[in-house]
Symmetry: C2
């Protein structure tokens, strides 16, 4: 794996050299992990003018909490001897000491206070902006990364499948969410990819609903959204069910509509498609049925080391999809007081020649009455 | 409760006026919650020159995730109409529109990018630093806040007590941690106050250990650290046990030593005590027994809306303890390859006339063999 990380750092180095900065300081944890193989708490990556100068700077004993992941072995590590020091400040000092005259930093991650401390420790170092260069490198995944997402999706499918076999009526949203999270870990996840959402009755279909003490009742919609983290990679699946022997007509209608919107979104996932067109494909199905109010801003987003990454699938999104970009497609409708439906898959954009979009979350999307 | 939040805002307003800033922008979520009663995702508090101008600015539909807490009803709320907007930027615009010439902001929380956006939207507004003024207001708790911590501690005690009655040998750290978190929620916690730590055998006693798949074995030390969040307030308890019929001599010795250190720390919690003296009281017991290596930087810290607040109990800490400040006392020793002991309580500093420090986490600290 070491070559993978070195190659990623080389790409970033080329970007920085083109932008006129000899050195870069990467502080956002997911970015550090992407480039260094692991992100111990507080650690920053100093990217030097040449590979030999790359350095992972780790915090001292305070933050010395063991992580499961090990950094790239080819990357030198420096741990701060003192206590409470800021690895970013130390790294700026090291860069200045090596004669760098400018350092590109992640201004969207560093606070004003930390940025000022960097300037103080190395007053001759010009602090430039790295922008979201590393986030952009992270958008297209390699097969190793996709394989982690695939395993995570399998784990989430398993956890969800087991829950559906158990008795649901009378149990609270909170308990069902905890049970799902336990099952994720049972099946080998590092942990949940984000707080598991379980929503019943009038709560069903609310995006990002936090589980409450409401109990599942006959006739409810039940919507569930969960994901596993596997080797740092986070996937997402969402499904909506009906509790009881037979769904009501309005439930079937609403479900079919959201299902059609979600399918339209999935089917438009081809390399080269504009992100806003994927969003529009899903959104216009809901729009044309009169559900214009209360739609979420996004109908999907990238996933990877974070659960919400670029690209964004929204009306205002710029940019096009590339092959090997994993995204969610997750339209939904929520009717205040009545509940609603959300259907959410994680898929990888693939060329049609390779069979089109690869569905990672394979739990059925038929409307199940449980 | 509304008067409580208004009174907190008044205190901050007095501080800002004394510092020469007519308006302040509070963005750190725990600080927003402290002053406004709730912190919807992304929301910021704009503190005006007078109470009538205070305003909670909330993000638009993207972040519209229901929270259980409601903001202070006396506080006007403005929700951004658009999508993806930054409430902090909107608040700066509002302050400028109201004729404020300077705005104190939380430079330790705002990123460089956000700070720059504030400057762009209101170029005539001078951005000053609010420092950690709100964090300092939060240090001394009122009885309502302490009562939330007390209930949280009871919940943690219950969860831990139930775990001790179950069979432990053969179960993994990961499972025990999940079980504890489920029990916290069962007993009414909003959720865990921080990721529950369960450490067995050679892992026992490691601060902040993340649970692994190691199983509990006969003869192990087992150390557990958990806490409940109750109405936003976070407490912490840590205990170490021995698995099997009788502890080994080295285990008893090490346990007694850490217990003595923890007791020394607890007994030095009096109003007016220097934070570093409390740290020293605990630390010197371990030092004088030869355990100078591998001690943690802190032997305790404040708790409240965050699990790690001021004051810090460490050798370099400045400042003194006041009455009604809740802190942890949590010394420990970890012997590489063998394991170790941590004992951790949450207590409230109280004057001797009121009976001295109030212990919130009452699970026994005898060495139990389970």
């Amino acid at each position: 794996m070491s070559e993978v990380y070195a190659a990623r750092r080389t790409r970033l180095r080329e970007y920085c050299n083109a932008g006129g900065s000899a050195a870069a300081l990467v502080s956002r944890p997911a970015n550090v992990r992407y480039l260094a193989g692991a992100a111990p708490p507080g650690a920053v990556l100093l990217l030097g003018r040449t590979e030999e100068r790359d350095l992972l700077v780790c915090a001292g004993p305070t933050a010395d909490r063991p992580t499961q992941e090990r950094p790239d072995e080819a990357l030198p590590v420096q741990t701060l001897p003192g206590v409470g020091g800021d690895p970013a400040v130390a790294a700026a000092g090291i860069a200045a000491g090596q004669g760098a005259d400018s350092l590109a930093v992640e201004e969207h991650h560093l606070t004003v206070t930390r940025h000022r401390a960097l300037g103080s420790v190395a007053p001759r170092l010009r602090l430039a902006g790295l922008g979201s260069a590393v986030e952009q490198l992270r958008v297209v995944k390699d097969e190793e990364e996709i394989s982690c997402l695939r395993i995570g999706a399998e784990i989430a499918d398993q956890a969800l499948g087991e829950l559906l076999e158990s008795i649901l009526v009378g149990r609270t949203e909170r308990h069902l969410a905890l049970e799902l999270e336990r099952r994720l870990v049972d099946h080998g996840a590092d942990g949940p990819a984000f707080p598991t959402s379980v929503a019943t009755g009038p709560n069903a279909g609310r995006p990002g609903h936090r589980p409450t003490d409401r109990r599942v009742e006959e006739g409810d919609f039940l919507s569930v959204c969960l994901g596993a983290t596997y080797r740092g990679y986070r996937c997402e699946i969402g499904r909506t069910f009906v509790i009881g022997t037979a769904p009501a007509d309005w439930q079937i209608e609403l479900y079919d509509l959201v299902f059609a919107a979600q399918r339209a979104g999935r089917e438009s996932l081809v390399p080269g498609a504009a992100c806003r067109d994927v969003d529009r494909a899903a959104r216009q199905v809901l729009d044309s049925a009169g559900y214009t109010e209360g739609l979420t801003v996004l109908t999907g987003h990238g996933v990877g080391l974070e659960i919400d990454e670029d690209p964004q699938l929204s009306p205002a999104a710029m940019g096009k999809l590339d092959a090997c970009v994993p995204v969610t497609v997750e339209p939904g409708v929520h009717l205040p007081g009545r509940g609603g439906v959300r259907i959410d898959d994680t898929l990888v954009v693939r060329p049609e020649a390779d069979g089109g979009p690869e569905l990672l979350t394979i739990t059925t999307k038929e409307l199940l009455a449980l």
